[in-house]
């Protein structure tokens, strides 16, 4: 069975990526690793450094004492969970592993002296630094959009927080028969299936609470991950008609065929080739100008273009792509030695920007840092990623990959990736179950 071979390979990948030594070589002079950013990447790196060698001193510098997880945060919009369920605390990392936390903002680094300063006036020396800054949203790249519009009227809700709550409240108060418009971002961006899952989850919620509502996803792209399997889910659940070019391999008979719907369903996706690119936003009238014309919304959700988090710019780790170039083997910055960059902010070639990716990259970087501190060679790493996505609360999808180094770049290995288009109802249901379980176990792997 392909799936089983794949799982075997995945197991091996995980072991290789996390195969850390427990013998300490730092008994006399414990090195200090400073981690900037306490999200998925930073927290995982801290924990796995301590797994590798508890004698390493690990300090995480993070702005917020409580982390609000972005993965799974669209499930707040349909009341599947509440805002408080997104909150993750650092107590376990502190108490179980002795990781130190400094809730502060980094203001500068001297990569030669290997010191870091904070807004709170603290100066720390480090032997190696790991930076996991996530992303920042470039609201102003869309004419008529801005951070203040996002906070008050047209949320992006792509970094979970107040905008998530705002969007949830707007959706729940939307007039009967209203239109929810999502503007999907251009590549590369955090959480590739995210905008499409968000549209699906709201369509499902509207079916019960606002059955004449519409969901429109506007896109500058012509495809997305996990493309056809998501489109098929929309077809089955929300009456979406799959464009001809995506129909190959979709079941036309049997247990659950793809249908051609006479009436358009409640969810639509306007690809770039169909004029889905947004040119400007009229915040006062809640409308967007697209290449195909003006679209009025009752609730408007814009996910703007994004680049590496601010601190990556402040530490001069970013190149002209807006992301941080690294030596893929160690995740060490090619701009400043001694500083490793992981997660959404780093240039990781074929790896998507996802929490899962950040978690694996953190393990790879932690191992590399320990090896470098010990003066050892570090093995070529393997990375893995699975993006789970829901087309409905009981309709699960995924794309799963293993990555390895090829000519200094991170490349996808061959193998089955997606839930097959002819997957049974049971497999689809199990996919949703896996997604929900992943939320729990993944959070534990990073933060507990």
């Amino acid at each position: 069975m392909q799936r089983r071979d794949f799982l075997k390979a995945l197991g091996t990948g995980a072991m290789l990526a996390t195969g850390l030594s427990v013998r300490s070589v730092f008994a006399n002079a414990a090195p200090h690793v400073v981690i900037v950013g306490g999200g998925v990447g930073g927290a995982t790196a801290a924990k796995y450094l301590k797994f590798a060698d508890p004698n390493i001193r690990v300090t995480v510098i993070e702005k917020n004492p409580v982390y609000i997880r972005p993965y799974g945060s669209s499930e707040v919009l349909n009341d599947h969970i509440g805002m408080q369920d997104l909150e993750v605390r650092y107590d376990r990392l502190r108490e179980r592993y002795g990781i130190e936390f400094l809730f502060d903002t980094v203001t500068g680094v001297d990569p030669h002296a290997r010191t870091v300063r904070t807004a709170g006036g603290v100066q720390l020396n480090y032997d190696r630094m790991i930076v996991s800054p996530g992303i920042q949203l470039l609201y102003e790249r869309i004419e008529g959009y801005s951070a203040s519009v996002a906070e008050s009227r047209i949320p992006s809700a792509w970094i979970a927080g107040n905008q998530t709550r705002l969007l949830r409240d707007q959706l729940h108060a939307m007039r009967p028969g209203g239109t929810f418009v999502i503007v999907a971002p251009p590549n590369p961006y955090r959480c590739p299936p995210g905008p499409y899952e968000r549209g699906a989850l709201m369509a499902e919620w509207f079916k019960v609470h606002n059955p004449t509502a519409k969901v429109i996803i506007l896109d500058s792209k012509d495809s997305f991950v996990p493309g056809p399997s998501m489109l098929l889910g929309w077809n089955r659940l929300y009456g979406y008609n799959v464009p001809e070019r995506f129909r190959e391999g979709m079941p036309t008979d049997g247990e659950w065929p793809m249908k051609i719907h006479e009436e358009p369903g409640m969810l639509d996706w306007v690809a770039g080739r169909d004029g889905g690119r947004v040119l400007s936003v009229d915040a006062a009238n809640l409308s967007v100008e697209t290449e195909a014309g003006r679209i009025e919304a009752d609730v408007l959700n814009i996910v703007p273009p994004m680049v590496a988090g601010k601190v990556a710019f402040e530490l001069d780790l970013v190149d002209e792509t807006g992301y941080c170039p690294i030596d893929r083997r160690t995740h060490e910055s090619t701009r400043h030695p001694g500083i490793h960059v992981i997660g959404d902010a780093c240039v990781a070639d074929a790896m998507p920007k996802s929490g899962f990716s950040a978690n694996t990259q953190a393990k790879v970087a932690a191992r590399a840092v320990v090896d470098l501190l010990a003066g050892r060679d570090t093995q070529a790493p393997l990375w893995e990623n699975t993006c789970y996505a829901l087309a409905g609360s009981e309709y699960g999808l995924y794309v799963a990959d293993i990555f390895r180094l090829v000519d200094g770049r991170i490349a996808r290995t061959e193998g089955p990736r997606f839930l097959p288009l002819d997957a049974s109802r049971a497999q689809i249901r199990i996919g949703a179950l896996y997604q929900q379980n992943w939320m729990r176990t993944f959070t534990d792997d990073c933060f507990a």
Partner: protein, 225 residues
């Protein structure tokens, strides 16, 4: 109901160690008479079809390619007695077995299976070799408990039901030999602490009530592969 289950899974995710108690079905507790009748009516299992289901229902992704178990998180099913596997699937389906968040996965799966499906996967696992055996281990701290029991605490010898080498006994009495020790520990604790209730008239739980943590650990190691 399923939606509710998911919600609970998710809520329990962030609630740390304590898993929220799922809404219980009004499941009918087993009696010896009913169990006898249910097992007598168990469909004839088809191991070939069972192997297919083992792949299609993704059983393999946790329980291993032949049911041998891939990690400490999930039990081995290979070599397991078919009536036991069949009964467990019924128990998950009917809400009698739900001792922790892991069980929720099985509840959802079992509700998608017919009784024929259950008998077929049970036949597939029964056709695989046991992952180990647990012969006499003289000098092992719980050898006496396994072989002689403890009359003081009215504990019947484990071997008298589960077999002299832990290979399983009659009907639904499961094999233990070669099982993941972590699973055996979780199971004995679940019986001892009254969070698992799918045995007939507390036929297993009553022997677990008096076990210490040390004994549970030692018993698990005794039977583990």
């Amino acid at each position: 109901m399923k939606k509710h289950l998911l919600l609970i899974l998710l809520l329990s995710a962030l609630g740390g160690q304590a898993f929220a108690e799922p809404a219980r079905e009004t499941a009918q507790a087993w009696t010896p008479v009913r169990l006898h009748a249910v097992l007598a009516a168990m469909p004839q299992g088809d191991a070939v079809r069972g192997e297919k289901l083992h792949g299609q229902l993704f059983c393999a992704s946790c329980h291993g390619e032949r049911g041998e178990s891939l990690s400490r998180h999930w039990p081995a099913l290979s070599g397991q007695r078919a009536p036991y596997t069949y009964k467990m699937l019924l128990d998950y389906r009917d809400g009698l077995r739900h001792e922790d968040a892991r069980a929720e996965m099985m509840v959802v799966l079992a509700r998608m299976m017919t009784e024929q499906d259950m008998a077929d996967v049970a036949a597939f696992y029964a056709a695989q070799p046991l992952p180990g055996s647990a012969p006499l281990k003289k000098g092992h701290p719980v050898n006496d408990l396994v072989r002689r029991g403890d009359p003081q605490r009215l504990i019947t010898p484990c071997a008298s039901c589960h077999g002299v080498e832990g290979q399983g006994g009659r009907n639904e009495t499961p094999s233990l030999a070669g099982q993941r020790p972590e699973y055996l520990v979780r199971t004995l604790r679940a019986f001892r602490d009254n969070v698992r209730h799918n045995d007939v008239h507390q036929g297993m739980a009553q022997f677990a009530w008096d076990l210490t943590d040390e004994e549970i650990q030692a018993l698990a190691e005794y039977y583990a592969r």
